[in-house]
């Protein structure tokens, strides 16, 4: 890729434009970006491995700390998988409370994002305003759960704290205040010339590219991909709630802003429905410490996109394997596409537009050569799996034809 008129600059691992250590190596021609190499791994904490040494209860608190913003997402996703393994019927009231916290989290995450995006484009007034309004939600979360972040509301088999009528009143009052503020921000985003001009046409990701690169969450929805786990595979109480999946056809950072803002209004409506329809009953059921052997995959729509947890149990108190696919890992490939042939100055806002959480994303692959490990290509792996299933009496040829 090296030629004489190409200039390579490293951005990160430590860089003022990035909020977390991550390395981008950018090939430039003048101000134009020719290509980007992204290196993950500067924030690796070995959480998945650490989960194998701890009990399910301890893992829940550990996994909650994968991300400071979508902490409830990770803990709920994990707890759902464990509850499926243990075949527990979680009480309805607990599911409603979980969903309620999840929507509060979405609101505070989107507010935070709006502020950060404002900061990245030099609009710090927006940062101050959104973060001030975010405090309304943070206070409610602290009252309901006992902490501003890492709520610790989940437990295996339900939730740990109930909500009272007093809480309900507080929530509904705060929603009134927030609705006014959100409407104001929507008005700002759709009318303020500086925002529209700065964000339009920046970080383009077409519908086809979003599908091809497996973008998730608001990033995908801003490219017109109506994909939302809450709708596609309802978990917790989402099956009983009426809401819309917000999409936008702008396909750029402006579209992502609009999607997030409109999602805030949807979240408000979801919260009102939850508070008004919350059923009475217990908030948790007892689950034995030893979880039956098996494996489970759980999906969850975090504020940033689809979060996937895989848990394999061997029948003891500790899981055999926990695998986390955080939304940023799915979106990071799209960043490469968004930055290609764009201006270098757009880089901070394009990276910020997927609402990256690099510490959620960091992975490590270690290969031990003594056992004859080797790298094989994706197609070879696919062929190998098809052959393997053929040997075991399952033939996918017909199904493949249908899918093609």
């Amino acid at each position: 890729m090296h030629n004489s008129d190409e200039f390579r600059i490293p951005i990160g691992p430590q860089h003022p434009a990035l909020k977390e250590p991550e390395s981008f190596s950018i090939a430039l021609k003048g101000e134009k970006i020719l290509g980007v190499d992204i290196r993950l791994g500067y924030n690796h904490r070995g959480i998945e491995k650490a989960c194998e040494e701890r009990t399910y209860i301890q893992d829940m608190y550990l996994l909650e700390r994968i991300c400071g913003i979508c902490s409830h997402s990770h803990s709920t996703c994990f707890v759902q998988a464990v509850e499926e393994l243990a075949s527990v019927q979680v009480p309805k009231r607990a599911l409603y409370i979980r969903t309620l916290i999840a929507e509060f989290e979405r609101i505070h995450s989107h507010f935070l994002w709006l502020g950060v995006a404002g900061h990245e484009i030099g609009f710090d007034t927006l940062l101050m305003y959104t973060w001030r309004d975010r405090e309304i939600i943070m206070d409610i979360l602290a009252t309901l759960t006992g902490n501003r972040v890492n709520y610790g509301i989940n437990t295996i088999g339900g939730v740990r704290r109930d909500i009272t009528d007093d809480h309900k009143r507080q929530i509904l009052e705060a929603m009134e205040k927030l609705e006014e503020r959100i409407n104001y921000y929507i008005q700002i985003a759709t009318q303020e010339t500086t925002i529209i001009k700065r964000l339009s046409g920046v970080g383009m990701l077409t519908y086809e590219e979003a599908l091809k690169l497996d973008a998730v969450g608001p990033t995908a929805r801003a490219s017109g991909v109506a994909r939302d786990v809450r709708k596609d595979d309802p978990y917790a109480a989402y099956g009983e709630i009426v809401f819309n999946v917000i999409t936008d056809s702008h396909c750029d950072v402006y579209g992502r802003t609009v999607v997030r803002l409109k999602e805030l209004l949807e979240s408000l409506s979801i919260i009102r429905q939850l508070v008004n329809n919350i059923p009475e009953g217990p908030i948790s059921v007892r689950v034995p410490r030893k979880i039956p052997a098996g494996e489970a995959l759980s999906r969850y729509e975090a504020p940033r996109g689809e979060d996937v947890h895989y848990v394999r149990s061997n029948g003891t108190e500790k899981p055999d394997r926990v695998k986390v696919r955080a939304p940023t890992l799915a979106n990071i490939q799209a960043v490469k596409q968004m930055l290609k042939d764009r201006q270098l100055a757009d880089m901070p806002i394009v990276v910020a537009a997927i609402d990256p959480c690099f510490s959620c994303t960091d992975r490590m692959v270690a290969m031990k050569s003594e056992k004859g490990a080797s790298v094989i290509k994706w197609q070879e792996l696919r062929n190998y799996s098809i052959e393997w299933y053929k040997k075991h009496g399952v033939d996918f040829t017909e199904l493949n034809k249908k899918l093609a």
């Binding site: 701890r54 009990t55 209860i57 301890q58 829940m60 608190y61 550990l62 700390r65 007034t125 927006l126 305003y129 001030r132 405090e135 206070d139 602290a142 009252t143 006992g146 902490n147 890492n150 610790g152 437990t155 740990r160 704290r161 104001y184 008005q187 700002i188 009318q191 303020e192 010339t193 500086t194 529209i196």
Partner: protein, 122 residues
Amino acid sequence: MKPGRMLYQVLSSLFKKTATLDYPHDKSQKIKGFRGRLKAYPQRCIGCKMCMRDCPSQAIIIKEVGSKQFEAQIDLSKCIYCGQCADVCPKMALEITDEFELAQFDPEKLKIVFHVELKKNT
């Protein structure tokens, strides 16, 4: 479309009260039910070690120092204030308080140590 849509709000907030609190002088915003410092009731403890087993950060160590005698140590510098120990305790010997100002110069002051002696007939 005209620029400066936010100008009116920006100017009007010059004359409004600040959104932030004058902490530590103003401590009015104390949140009820906040998960802060742990409080232990040694006389209720039975040394079952349930809290020690469940603590995600290994902040609780309970040692058997003699026949039916235990020494419990809670290290608040390791504690993540999740409150799982208080949840799991069968005798309610641990309680979460809303005290959150825990900074100390001396790490020893962050340790809660107590001794438990069970009656012989229990």
